[in-house]
């Protein structure tokens, strides 16, 4: 890890991608993530990489498909409406088992929505997003540093499982500046080989990358193989942080919302309330194991999101009726305040004792 430098979230993620071996970036502009393509357009040529501003989001994600198929570490980034446009390509990548990283700096939706921070693309990111029976690995980092850290992990897991990986940030994370330590750049030559890639068939049988399975039996078999891979990911790749695990009550939040909740929790604890936090870092696989560690002692959970309630479904599935699960959220680009969250914590605790 290098010296700490002050960087904007978008730029830090872009630099982290370059250091993780990303050599191809394809994108189309949209606020609030434009510093990612801007940075890549300058930085990638310095390391022998390629930046292309595509003519559309569809073109960009299909260029990622192509570069990934040829064995490269490739990525694209966008924000909510743009990521909706990329879903067809992400589904094709999942089906063709191609690695790649998609950054979504989420903004208020639906439709064109606004440009302020939101978390209302949680369903889209964690349920696959496009058509078909597939999932993408999804990270929800809470700080710029964690964004940098999960970027390396995202490329690593994308290659390991040959699957697209989504980093779900929000406008606040993209726009804010924080100190970060950047990792040393990976040496491309040391990355694992990709014998499946279409690198020219000289001296071997051609590799074919495809997502068409007209024979239903074959298509089901392919789906079952994908599912087996997702089962392994679910069993092995969960990431979460638990703060104050011996608490009676828990707030559940991810990304920048978790930072606001952390302040509310500090205030609640200063008042003598026994409140901790479960903070998912992987949103898919959802970190059910972290919930298992606290659910037996928990009197209740409060899920806080910048949406009208999406991750709360996964919390309810993880808790499975063992204690009450409440929800508080702001949406459309509005950010919950620590005062609002504290009031909800107080309501939860009082509701229990009444």
């Amino acid at each position: 890890m290098g010296q700490r430098v002050l960087m904007k979230g978008n730029e830090a993620l872009a630099e982290a991608a370059v250091r993780a071996g990303c050599r191809f970036f394809f994108g189309y502009p949209i606020t609030p993530q434009n510093e990612i393509p801007e940075y890549m357009s300058r930085r990638l040529p310095e390391v022998g990489g390629t930046f292309i501003q595509a003519e559309s989001e569809l073109a960009a994600i299909n260029m990622v498909y192509g570069a990934a198929g040829a064995g490269a570490r490739a990525m694209t980034s966008s924000s909510s409406p743009g990521v909706s446009l990329k879903q067809e390509g992400i589904s094709y990548m999942a089906a063709a088992e191609l690695p790649g990283v998609v950054v979504n700096m989420v903004r208020g939706g639906p439709g064109l929505g606004g440009i302020q921070p939101a978390q209302s693309d949680y369903y889209q990111a964690t349920r696959g997003g496009g058509h078909g029976d597939y999932r993408t690995i999804v990270f929800g980092p809470a700080t710029v540093q964690e964004g940098v850290d999960v970027m390396s992990k995202a490329f690593e897991l994308a290659d390991k499982y040959r699957t697209p990986v989504v980093i779900l940030g929000d406008g606040m994370m993209g726009q804010m500046m924080e100190p970060v330590s950047l990792p040393e750049p990976l040496e491309l030559a040391k990355l694992p080989l990709k014998p499946w890639a279409t690198t020219g068939a000289k001296g071997r049988r051609p590799n074919i990358i495809n997502s068409l399975f007209l024979d239903a039996e074959e298509c089901e078999k392919h789906n079952l193989a994908l599912q087996a891979k997702y089962d392994i990911i679910q069993a092995t790749e969960q990431m979460a942080e638990i703060a104050f695990p011996d608490s009676d009550w828990f707030v559940v939040a991810y990304g920048t919302t978790a930072r606001i909740c952390r302040e509310a929790i500090q205030e609640a604890r200063a008042q003598g309330l026994s409140v901790g936090m479960v903070r998912p870092i992987t949103l898919w696989p959802f970190p059910v194991n972290a919930f298992e560690k606290v659910v037996e002692r928990a009197k209740g959970f409060l899920t806080v999101e910048m949406s009208l309630g999406q991750m709360v479904d996964d919390v309810r599935l993880a808790v499975n009726g063992r204690c009450p699960v409440r929800f508080f959220g702001r949406t459309g680009g509005m950010v919950p305040s620590d005062e609002e969250v504290l009031a909800e914590i107080e309501k939860m605790v009082e509701g229990r004792t009444r």
Binding site: L6, T143, G171, M177, R262, S337, D338, E339
Partner: protein, 181 residues
């Protein structure tokens, strides 16, 4: 120490860079910092603001809903942010472009004619550094020397010649604040 500051003014007054330079200085002093800009459809002449946190511990929320200090570079910013300031907080007002009196009586007020003093120095663009000098005199969250070092480190080569002027602007701001502390 955990200090949340909002800096607000017209686009082009340098409120964004004022916030960034405080963060660079804080980082160099080994503190934890965050900078969050307003990023609506802003333009030159529109309103702009940023939220800065300087802390001894890792920064929680980068959003500053209840600031400990507010630096007001124009009148609309006073109307927008005065109410949010914590009781006992610090209100630094650029009196050159804000003729309105603050209505709060439970806060510390430091008035500095930042735009006029910058004009006297020969460059209106250092009004932000005059205001910052006044702010740091009233609230020494980082050392003025660290601000100058941060400018040296982060200004592009063709702007390095502006550092003495910025240093002077910081000093003028501190002098203007001195009588009000």
């Amino acid at each position: 120490m955990n200090l949340g500051v909002i800096m607000a003014g017209f686009g082009g007054q340098g409120v964004m860079s004022m916030g960034q330079v405080v963060c660079y200085a804080g980082l160099a002093e080994g503190k934890e910092v965050s900078w969050l800009p307003s990023y609506g459809p802003e333009m030159r002449g529109g309103t702009a603001n940023c939220a800065v946190v300087v802390s001894d511990a890792p920064v929680g929320s980068p959003l500053v809903a209840r600031p400990d200090a507010v630096i007001i570079m124009n009148r609309p910013s006073l109307e927008k942010f005065e109410a949010a300031l914590k009781p006992g907080g610090l209100l630094v007002i650029n009196s050159s472009l804000c003729d309105k009196e603050p209505s709060r009586r439970d806060v510390r007020v430091v008035k500095v004619a930042a735009t006029d003093l910058a004009n006297d120095l020969g460059d209106i663009r250092v009004a932000n550094m005059v205001a910052l000098g006044a702010f740091l005199a009233a609230c020494p969250v980082v050392k003025p020397d660290s601000i100058v070092d941060a400018l040296k480190k982060n200004l592009p080569p063709h702007h390095q010649k502006l550092i003495p002027l910025n240093k002077l602007a910081l000093e003028r701001g501190a002098e203007a604040a001195a009588g009000q502390l």
